[in-house]
C-alpha cells in the first residue's frame, strides 16, 4: 500500500522550478544527490590518503564507462555501484581538474528510456479511403513514481461509432487509476448502446452465447488488465446495463453522449465505492477493491465520433486542441477545466455544497480539506464516505488496511461528506478542418509546459514530418553564407524531429529537456532521466500523453455534407 507517496498530490507541495538542480553545472546538483555525496565525500577523504601513498595505483583507475554507472535502474545495483562511481569520479577529477566531468546518459540511452512506453495506432484505411475522422494517435508515459501511477486507455467502440481515449492520474497508489483505466470505457460504451443492443448482449450472457465485442482496445504491452478482478468487474457492469435496460424499457430515444459520459463516470465511481463496502470473500480481491476505493484517480476522456468531440474531465488532467490558423501558426483551445484550487468556479461549487462555517476549511492551502489537490476524482472514499462507514470498513477489512496509517487517518474538518465527486465536466466541440490534433495529458505535462508551447511543438512535429517546404532560390538574392545558415537550421530542426517517431515522445522530450530557449538540451534531459527513483518524484510528476491526430479531409467532408 502506498503511503502518502508523492509530495505533490497530498502533503506539502514542492515546487520543482525552485529547486537548484539545474541552476548550474555539476557542483550544485551534487548537493541534491545526498546519498551519493556522502559516499563521495568518504571516498574523497579516503582517496586523498590513498593518492598520497599509492600514487601509481591511483593514477590508473580501471575505466568504468560513466554512462553505465549513471543509469542505475535497480536500487540494489545502484547502491552497489555508487562507491565505485565516486571513486572513478574522484580520480578522474584529479587528473583533469579543469574540465568538469560528465556522467550523462548517451543519446541512445536517453532514447531507450523515453521510448520504452511509446505506442502508436493508425486507424486502418479501407480501400485506400480513411473514413474515420481520427487518423490515429501516439501515446507515451514517463514514470516519476515507482511504480508509475498514471494510466492511459484507448479503444474503438465496436457497437457504436467513435473512439475513446483517456488519461488517468492516480494518487495514493495506482490501484484506482488502474481500475478506472480498465473499466471506465466499458461503462461509457454501455451507456452509449441503444436499447436493442443492450438486450441482445444481456440475452447472450443469459444464454451463455458469445458476447458481442463492445470495445477494441489499443494497448501498449505494458498496459495490463487485472485478471483476478475481471469477474467482479463484469458483474458490476452487467448490473449496470440491466438497470439501463429496465430504465429505458419502452423508450428508445436518442442517446445523449454528454449524459452517457456523466452517467458512466458516476456509475463507475459508485460501483467502486459499493464493491469496497460489500467486500469480497476472496481475500485478495477484497484487499484489491479496498485499495481501489481508498486510492484515487482523475480522468480525462475524449470521445470522438465524426466531427463530434466530447471531452469528459474529472480532476486536473487536461485536453488541449491544436488549431492551425490560416497563416500556419498554432493556437491552443482548451477543452477541459481543471478541477482544483486554481479554478474559481470549483472553489465556489465546493463552498456552496457545504455549510457556510466550513467555507474556510473545505479549501485550505489550495487543497481540498488542506489535503487533496484535485477537487474531483474517482475513489478516494476517505473524502466521500461518512466517518462511521470508513471506520467500519477499515475495521472489518484485512490487516494490511488496518495497519495503514494513511487509510485510518480521517481528514480534519470532516463534517459533511461527501466532499469529493467523480462527476465529470463534459465539453462538446464540433471539429473543424483547422483542428489538427488533440493532446490529452496528465498534469505532469501541464505543470512543466505552457499549453501554447505544447500545441506548437506537436503541431510543428506533425507537419514538419510531412512537409518541410523545399527551398528554392528562384529570383531571390541569396548568398552562400545565408543559404548555409538556413540549411543548418533546417537540418537541426529535422534531426530533432526525426529522432522521435511518436508525437507524445517528442513532447516528453521537450517537457523534460527544454532549456530556457525552448529547445531540447541533451545535458538537462540526461540529468533528469538519470535521477534515482527516490528523487525523480521531487523534480517531476508522472507524465502521460495521448496525441490524437484528426483527418482534416474527413472533417472537411463532414462539414460540406451539411
Amino acid at each position: 500500500m502506498c503511503v502518502c507517496p508523492g509530495p505533490r498530490r497530498i502533503g506539502t507541495p514542492v515546487r520543482s522550478s525552485s529547486l537548484p538542480l539545474f541552476s548550474d553545472a555539476m557542483p550544485a546538483p551534487a548537493q541534491l544527490f545526498f546519498p551519493l555525496i556522502r559516499n563521495c565525500e568518504l571516498s574523497r577523504i579516503y582517496g586523498t590518503a590513498c593518492y598520497c601513498h599509492h600514487k601509481h595505483l591511483c593514477c590508473s583507475p580501471p575505466y568504468i564507462p560513466p554512462s553505465r554507472l549513471r543509469y542505475t535502474p535497480h536500487p540494489a545495483y545502484a547502491t552497489f555501484c555508487r562507491p565505485k562511481e565516486s571513486w572513478w569520479q574522484y580520480t578522474q577529477g584529479r587528473r583533469y581538474a579543469s574540465t568538469p566531468q560528465k556522467f550523462y546518459l548517451t543519446p541512445p540511452q536517453v532514447n531507450s528510456i523515453l521510448k520504452a512506453n511509446e505506442y502508436s495506432f493508425k486507424v486502418p484505411e479501407f480501400d485506400g479511403k480513411n473514413v474515420s475522422s481520427v487518423l490515429g494517435f501516439d501515446s507515451n508515459q514517463l514514470p516519476a513514481n515507482a511504480p508509475i501511477e498514471d494510466r492511459r486507455s484507448a479503444a474503438t467502440c465496436l457497437q457504436t461509432r467513435g473512439m475513446l481515449l483517456g488519461v488517468f492520474d492516480g494518487h495514493a497508489g495506482c490501484a484506482c487509476s488502474q481500475a478506472v483505466s480498465e473499466r471506465l470505457f466499458y461503462y461509457i460504451a454501455v451507456s452509449l448502446l441503444p436499447h436493442e443492443t443492450l438486450l441482445e448482449i444481456e440475452n447472450a450472457v443469459e444464454s451463455g452465447r458469445a458476447l458481442l465485442p463492445i470495445l477494441q482496445w489499443h494497448k501498449h504491452p505494458n498496459d495490463y488488465f487485472s485478471k483476478e478482478a475481471s469477474k467482479l468487474y463484469f458483474n458490476s457492469l452487467r448490473t449496470y446495463w440491466q438497470e439501463l435496460i429496465d430504465l429505458n424499457a419502452g423508450e428508445s430515444g436518442d442517446i445523449n453522449v454528454k449524459e452517457a459520459l456523466v452517467n458512466a463516470f458516476k456509475r463507475l465511481d459508485n460501483d467502486i465505492s459499493l464493491e469496497a463496502q460489500v467486500g469480497d470473500p476472496n481475500s485478495f480481491l477484497n484487499y484489491l477493491v479496498l485499495r481501489v476505493a481508498f486510492s484515487g484517480a482523475t480522468a480525462c476522456v475524449a470521445h470522438v465520433d465524426g466531427v463530434d468531440l466530447h471531452v469528459a474531465n474529472t480532476g486536473d488532467s487536461r485536453a488541449m486542441l491544436g488549431v492551425q490558423e490560416e497563416d500556419g501558426s498554432w493556437s491552443a483551445v482548451t477543452l477541459s477545466n481543471d478541477h482544483n484550487a486554481q479554478n474559481e468556479r470549483e472553489v465556489e461549487r465546493l463552498k456552496l455544497e457545504h455549510p457556510k462555517n466550513e467555507a474556510k476549511s473545505v479549501v485550505k492551502q489550495d487543497r481540498l480539506l488542506g489535503l487533496l489537490m484535485p477537487f474531483r476524482a474517482f475513489g478516494d472514499v476517505k473524502f466521500k464516505w461518512s466517518i462511521d462507514l470508513q471506520k467500519r470498513v477499515i475495521e472489518s477489512g484485512p490487516d494490511q488496511l488496518n495497519d495503514n496509517e494513511y487509510t485510518k487517518f480521517i481528514p480534519p474538518n470532516y463534517y459533511t461528506p461527501p466532499y469529493l465527486t467523480a462527476e465529470p465536466e463534459v465539453i462538446y466541440h464540433r471539429l473543424r478542418p483547422q483542428d489538427k490534433f488533440l493532446v490529452l495529458a496528465t498534469d505532469g505535462l501541464w505543470e512543466t509546459m505552457h499549453r501554447q508551447d505544447v500545441v506548437r511543438i506537436v503541431g510543428e512535429y506533425l507537419t514538419g514530418m510531412h512537409h518541410q517546404q523545399p527551398i528554392a532560390v528562384g529570383g531571390y538574392k541569396v548568398t552562400l553564407g545565408q543559404m548555409h545558415g538556413l540549411l543548418t537550421e533546417r537540418r537541426a530542426k529535422m534531426s530533432s524531429v526525426f529522432e522521435d517517431q511518436n508525437a507524445a515522445t517528442h513532447l516528453i522530450r521537450h517537457a523534460v529537456g527544454n532549456n530556457e530557449f525552448g529547445t531540447v538540451d541533451h545535458e538537462r534531459l540526461s540529468k533528469m532521466l538519470s535521477l534515482p527513483e527516490e528523487l525523480a518524484r521531487m523534480y517531476r510528476d508522472d507524465i502521460t500523453i495521448i496525441v490524437v491526430q484528426f483527418n482534416s479531409h474527413v472533417v472537411g467532408a463532414y462539414q460540406n455534407q451539411e
Binding site: 518541410q468 523545399p470 528554392a472 541569396v478 548568398t479 552562400l480
Partner: protein, 879 residues
C-alpha cells in the same frame, strides 16, 4: 545540306551563352524544318545519341574513313547530361586506361576549336586534388606516379604551394595535394557540337528530333533501326544514349543488357566574385570534402558526390523529366558546408542556381563500351560515372577503333560490356549498387575493397556452411567467394577501419591458411569459375577447339590442357583449362568473369551445327580445391582409390566417387602450382562431399582457406591470371608460355600467324616476376597493382598484380617489362638477357623499392625439406 542545317543549330545555340541557353533555345526550332528532312534508307553505321559520346564516335569513325554514318538524336544535339555537365576535364584517374582516355580527350578538345572554328571554351586551368589525410595523399601519390610515366605532367605539392596556386583555398587542414597543370575546363555542349560539326563535314549525317524505337536484329546480327521517321538499314548500331541506354538496350527483340542507372547530381553556380575569378583559376577537387570547385564566369561552380545519393529514373523516364528536376538544397547542405569550409570567403557570394543534372553510373564505377555479346554489330558506349567529358574523346576513339579494326589499340577489358551479364541488369540491383558507386567516386580507394551492396546474388551451396565458419566474402561477377576465414578467437577491424595501404589486419590469418596449404591440406570453394561443356557427335568439338585454342587438345581422354584462347594478333581472349572428358566432349574451366565474354567468343566462331553443343554448366557444379601435400591422403581415403602421382598423374581428370557421391570430376591441378586436386561436384552432392572431406581431413590438419591464400600461392609460383595479368594484348610468348602453344600441332588456330611472327621477331614486352628486396612488410606501403617498374632508373612498365609470398617472406609483383629506346622511345625487343641484366625498382606511391626480376618461378627451395617433414608428420599422425 546536312552540314548547313547543323551549323544553323550550332549558331542558334551559341548565340545565348551559359547554362540557361537550353530553355531559351528550345522554342527556336520550327517543326517544318525538322520534318522536311527524310532519313536515308540505309547506312553502314547508325549511332543513337547526340551527346558527347555519340558525336565523338561519329567524329572518330569518320576520321578513320567510315563515312556512311548516321547519327540520330531524339531531342537536340548535346541536350542530355552533356548539356548540364560541369565541364571539368581531369586526367587524374585511378585506371591507366582511363588516364589515357582523358589525356587523349584533353589533347583533342584543345585543338578542336582550331579544327572546326567552333568555340569550345577550352581553358587550361590545371587541377588541384587536395588531401586532408595521409591515406588520401598516398592515393594521390600513386596516381601521380602513374600519370608521370604516361607523360602527363603532375606533381605532389605542399599545402603552402596549394595556397599559392589558388587564392581562396583554406589549406590549414591539408597534408598535401596533387597538382595536374594541364587539366582543363571546357564547355561540353560546345565540344559535342564541334565534334558533330567536324563529323558532319566528313560526311556523317546528323538528324535531331528523331526518336529511335528499336534496333532490328536478325540471326543475332544488327540489320537496321526503326525510328519514328522510318527505318534505316544498317550493319552497325552504336548505343550512346546515356541515361536512356538501358531502356534502349531492352527495347530490341533480342535485348542487350546495359547495366546503367542514374542518380541525381547537384552543383551550384554563383555570381562573379567581387574581383572576378580568372578564367584560368585552377579546378579544385576536395575528395575528402566530397566536392569539386571550378571557376565559372568569374564566380564558381561547385558540386560533389554525396554519401547519400538519390537514385532516379528506376522505373524508366522520359526526356522532359531531365529538364525539370527539382533543386534540393537540404540534400546539398553537407556539400555546401564542405565548400564553405574549403573556401570560407565565399559566404558572401550570391547564388545563381543549384543545378540538378542526373548522371549515369555503372555497377563497378567503370564506363561501358564494346560489342554486345548477344547481338553482333551492336556497340555500346555509355555509363560514364560523371566523367563523360573527360572520357568522351578517348572512349569515342577506342570504340571507333574497335568497330573499324576489330579491337582498340589498348586493352579495354576493364571497360568491356562483356564483363557484365544479364545478372547485373536487375533494376533493383542497379539502384542499390549505384547508391554505393556514386559516393565511391570520392571515397578513398584502397586495395581489396569490395562492394557492399548487391551481394549474395550467386552463392555456392556451401555458402552458409562456410559463412558459419568465419568466411569473409568478396564478390566477382555476382558470385560470393571466400577471402579468408576468421578464426573464432580473432576479431578483425570494422570495414571502415580496415581500409589501409599498409599491412592489412588479415595478414596472419592468410599466413596460417597458406602455411596449411603448404604443409597439410586446405579446401577452397572455387565454384565461381566459369564452366562450359562442349560436345559433339563426331569430331566437330575437337576441330573447333583446335582452331580456337593454341595448345594441342587432341590429347588422350582424361588429360587436362592449359591453353589460351587467342585472338588474331595472338593475344589472350581467355586463359583456360580444358579437360577431355571423352573422345567427343570437353570440359572447359575459365575465370569467373569470362562467363559472358568467352561464351560470346565461342558462339561467334562455332559453326551452326546441331551436332555441336556448347553448354554453360557453371551452375551445375560446385568446385572444391583441395590444396596441399595431404590432399592425396584425404582423397584416397574417401574414394578407396590410390591417388599418388603414379596412379593419378598431374593434369589428369577422372570421374570417380568421393564418399557416397558418384560422378565427381576429380582433376589433379590446383591453379596454384601446389599439389592437390580440384573436385567438380554436381551441386546436390556438394554438402555431402564437403562434409566428408572435412571430417576425413581432420586428421591431416585440413582447414578452410580463401582466395587471398590462393592468390598468394599462385603469384609466388608465377601463375599469371587472365583479367589481372593477361589481357587481349598479351600473347603466350610474352609471358613465358611457349609450352602452351603448339604452333606445329598440325592444325591452324586463331593467332598462330601472329605468334609465328612474334617467335621470329622476338617479343616487345615480357611478363616478369619481381621480388621486393628492401621492402619492410610491416612498415612500408604494400604494392597493389599498376605500380611503375624502373630498370636501371628507366621506366619499363607497370605491375599487374602483387601478393605477399609467405614462403619467400617477400612481396612478389608480376608485371610487364618493355624496352623503350632511350633515343626515340620506340619499343624494342625484350630478351631474357635484357631482363636478367637490369637493376629493378618498383615505385609504390613515389617510393622506389629494389626488386629482383625472375623469368621463371623461384625453384621450391623447400620442396625437399617439406617431403621430409611430411614423413615425420605422417609418422606422428599414423599412430
Amino acid at each position: 545540306v546536312m552540314f548547313h542545317r547543323l551549323l544553323s543549330v550550332v549558331r542558334r545555340q551559341s548565340s545565348s551563352r551559359g547554362w540557361q541557353k537550353w530553355s531559351s533555345a528550345r522554342g527556336g526550332v520550327s517543326a517544318a524544318e525538322v520534318h522536311s528532312v527524310a532519313l536515308p534508307a540505309q547506312a553502314q553505321v547508325v549511332i543513337c545519341g547526340g551527346g558527347i559520346m555519340g558525336t565523338s564516335v561519329a567524329y572518330h569513325l569518320s576520321k578513320m574513313g567510315w563515312k556512311d554514318v548516321v547519327l540520330l538524336e531524339q531531342g537536340r544535339l548535346a541536350a542530355g547530361s552533356t548539356r548540364f555537365c560541369a565541364g571539368i576535364l581531369s586526367t587524374a584517374r585511378h585506371l591507366t586506361i582511363e588516364q589515357k582516355m582523358a589525356d587523349y580527350s584533353n589533347k583533342l578538345y584543345q585543338q578542336l576549336e582550331q579544327e572546326t572554328g567552333i568555340q569550345t571554351g577550352y581553358v587550361r586551368t590545371g587541377s588541384i586534388f587536395l588531401a586532408q589525410t595521409q591515406d588520401r595523399l598516398i592515393s594521390l601519390k600513386r596516381i601521380n606516379s602513374r600519370l608521370n610515366v604516361i607523360g602527363i605532367p603532375s606533381e605532389i605539392v605542399s599545402p603552402k604551394r596549394v595556397a599559392e596556386l589558388h587564392p581562396l583555398l583554406n589549406v590549414h587542414d591539408l597534408v598535401g595535394a596533387l597538382h595536374v597543370p594541364e587539366d582543363a575546363v571546357v564547355s561540353s555542349a560546345d565540344v559535342a557540337l564541334a565534334l558533330a560539326s567536324a563529323a558532319s563535314q566528313n560526311g556523317v549525317q546528323i538528324y535531331d528530333r528523331t526518336s529511335l524505337l528499336h534496333v532490328m536484329v536478325k540471326k543475332g546480327q544488327v540489320t537496321g533501326v526503326e525510328t519514328d521517321k522510318g527505318q534505316i538499314q544498317c550493319q552497325y548500331f552504336v548505343n550512346c544514349a546515356g541515361q536512356w541506354a538501358y531502356e534502349l538496350g531492352l527495347s530490341n527483340e533480342e535485348p542487350v543488357s546495359i547495366p546503367v542507372h542514374a542518380c541525381e547530381h547537384f552543383y551550384l553556380l554563383t555570381r562573379p566574385w567581387e574581383s572576378p575569378l580568372q578564367s584560368n583559376t585552377a579546378t579544385v577537387v576536395d575528395a575528402d570534402g566530397r566536392i569539386y570547385i571550378r571557376n565559372w564566369q568569374g564566380g564558381i561552380l561547385s558540386g560533389g558526390f554525396e554519401k547519400n545519393p538519390k537514385p532516379i529514373f528506376t522505373e524508366g523516364k522520359n526526356q522532359l523529366e531531365i529538364q525539370n528536376l527539382q533543386e534540393d538544397w537540404d540534400h546539398f547542405e553537407p556539400l555546401l558546408s564542405s565548400l564553405l569550409r574549403r573556401m570560407p570567403d565565399l559566404g558572401s557570394l550570391e547564388i545563381v542556381k543549384l543545378v540538378n543534372c542526373p548522371e549515369t553510373f555503372t555497377p563497378d564505377m567503370r564506363c561501358i563500351m564494346g560489342e554486345s555479346p548477344s547481338v553482333q554489330g551492336y556497340f555500346v558506349l555509355a555509363g560514364m560515372n560523371s566523367a563523360g567529358l573527360s572520357f568522351g574523346g578517348g572512349a569515342g576513339r577506342y570504340l571507333a577503333e574497335w568497330m573499324v579494326h576489330g579491337y582498340p589499340s589498348e586493352s579495354v577489358w576493364e571497360l568491356d560490356l562483356k564483363r557484365f551479364g544479364a545478372l547485373q541488369s536487375s533494376r533493383t540491383f542497379l539502384r542499390h549498387r549505384v547508391m554505393e558507386v556514386m559516393p565511391l567516386l570520392y571515397d578513398l580507394k584502397v586495395p581489396r575493397w569490395d562492394f557492399q551492396t548487391g551481394r549474395q546474388l550467386r552463392t555456392s551451396p556451401l555458402y552458409d556452411r562456410l559463412d558459419a565458419q568465419g568466411a569473409r566474402w568478396m564478390e566477382k561477377h555476382g558470385f560470393e567467394r571466400p577471402k579468408y576465414f576468421v578464426p573464432p578467437d580473432k576479431d578483425l577491424l570494422a570495414l571502415e577501419q580496415s581500409k589501409t595501404f599498409y599491412k592489412p589486419d588479415w595478414f596472419e590469418i592468410v599466413e596460417a591458411e597458406v602455411k596449411c596449404c603448404k604443409e597439410a591440406v586446405c579446401v577452397i570453394d572455387m565454384s565461381s569459375f566459369t564452366k562450359f561443356e562442349i560436345t559433339s557427335t563426331g569430331d566437330q568439338a575437337l576441330e573447333i577447339l583446335q582452331y580456337l585454342f593454341s595448345n594441342d587438345l587432341d590429347v588422350p581422354v582424361g588429360h587436362i590442357v592449359h591453353t589460351g584462347m587467342l585472338n588474331e594478333s595472338g593475344g589472350y581472349e581467355n586463359d583456360c583449362s580444358i579437360a577431355r572428358l571423352s573422345k567427343r566432349s570437353f570440359f572447359m574451366i575459365s575465370p569467373t568473369d569470362q562467363q559472358v565474354h568467352c561464351w560470346a567468343w565461342l558462339k561467334k566462331y562455332m559453326p551452326e551445327d546441331s551436332n555441336l553443343i556448347l553448354e554453360d554448366v557453371t551452375w551445375k557444379y560446385t568446385a572444391l580445391n583441395l590444396i596441399g601435400p595431404r590432399a592425396v591422403d584425404v582423397l584416397s581415403e574417401l574414394s578407396y582409390a590410390p591417388m599418388t602421382p603414379d596412379h593419378f598423374p598431374s593434369l589428369f581428370c577422372k570421374e570417380m566417387s568421393v564418399g557416397y557421391a558418384n560422378g565427381i570430376r576429380v582433376m589433379s591441378m590446383t591453379h596454384t602450382g601446389e599439389p592437390g586436386f580440384m573436385l567438380y561436384i554436381p551441386i546436390e552432392y556438394a554438402l555431402h562431399v564437403y562434409n566428408e572431406v572435412m571430417s576425413v581431413g581432420q586428421k591431416y590438419g585440413i582447414r578452410n582457406a580463401g582466395y587471398y591464400a590462393l592468390r598468394s600461392l599462385r603469384i609466388e609460383k608465377f601463375f599469371a591470371f587472365w583479367g589481372q595479368d593477361l589481357n587481349t594484348l598479351t600473347t603466350p610468348l610474352e609471358c613465358g608460355r611457349e609450352s602452351r602453344v603448339k604452333l606445329d600441332k598440325g592444325v591452324d588456330f586463331i593467332g598462330r600467324a601472329a605468334l609465328l611472327e612474334q617467335k621470329q621477331n622476338g617479343v616487345y614486352k615480357r611478363l616478369t616476376m619481381f621480388i621486393l628486396d628492401d621492402h619492410d612488410t610491416d612498415l612500408d606501403l604494400w604494392p597493389w597493382w599498376g605500380e611503375p617498374i624502373y630498370r636501371n632508373g628507366q621506366y619499363v612498365g607497370k605491375t599487374t598484380s602483387s601478393a605477399y609470398g609467405y614462403t619467400l617472406e617477400r612481396h612478389v609483383c608480376l608485371g610487364f617489362v618493355h624496352n623503350f629506346s632511350e633515343d626515340t622511345g620506340e619499343e624494342q625487343v625484350v630478351t631474357a638477357d635484357f631482363i636478367n641484366r637490369g637493376e629493378y625498382e618498383i615505385d609504390i606511391a613515389g617510393h622506389r623499392f629494389q626488386a629482383k626480376a625472375k623469368l621463371y618461378p623461384v625453384p621450391s627451395l623447400f620442396t625437399h625439406k617439406r617431403r621430409k617433414d611430411d614423413m615425420e608428420l605422417s609418422d606422428v599422425h599414423g599412430k
